[in-house]
Symmetry: C2
Subunit: 125 residues, 2 copies
């Protein structure tokens, strides 16, 4: 995927640090259902990396059925599908991110970056 | 507790709403350990309301041992204790928030309010 580097999302909630540190999680619902959050964004990144839902799920220690359901839900909630699935054999076929899928990852990364800034500045006062 | 109204913390992550809505959780670690978050803040509020860890825990459907451990941890991490426990009998004795405990709840509420504002404005663009 030229021009689209998969930069791993940093964890906002795990690295221990001395003193008082604000931590958090952030996600986006659409019509009351989870649309995109840390796990789903990572799955989309991995699908882009591996070209397969099965391989992406395996790389995250996520069950294939779960991953498949996440993709189904995200595709259903999105204006246009985020992941294009090509019917395959036993291995689950291949899959690729659509341009909408790429846009959603980029937007979620921006949201995370803003949230990281918020967490960094909110506690110093 | 005159002058100290227990305003319940609203849930930042539960009410369903139409369209895209940013949701999240926020908490504060001290030296890499959970210091204050939604559950612990609620427990402190309930201790203030009921004057007892056991009653506070029961009102939240939280086990007494768990609640007691949360209080222990928060007291250990705080500059000065947040909850003052008076040794009691079978019921677990009584407990009350210290002024530091009250300060921490107020600070956490402020953090939540800022986070709510952040979540509201971050997605409209």
């Amino acid at each position: 995927m030229p021009g689209f580097k998969t930069k791993k999302l940093s964890s906002l909630s795990r690295q221990p640090q001395p003193g008082y540190v604000a931590r958090g999680r952030i996600w986006v619902d659409k019509d009351g259902e989870l649309y995109i959050g840390g796990g789903r964004a990572r799955l989309l990144e991995r699908i882009d990396e591996f070209g397969s839902i099965a391989a992406a799920a395996r790389s995250m220690g996520l069950g294939y059925r779960n991953a498949w359901l996440w993709v189904e839900t995200a595709n259903r909630l999105a204006a246009t599908p985020l992941v294009e699935k090509n019917a395959g054999g036993v291995g689950g076929g291949c899959a690729r991110l659509t341009s909408e899928g790429r846009r959603v990852i980029i937007q979620y990364r921006e949201l995370r970056a803003k949230f990281e800034d918020f967490l960094e500045q909110v506690i110093q006062k």
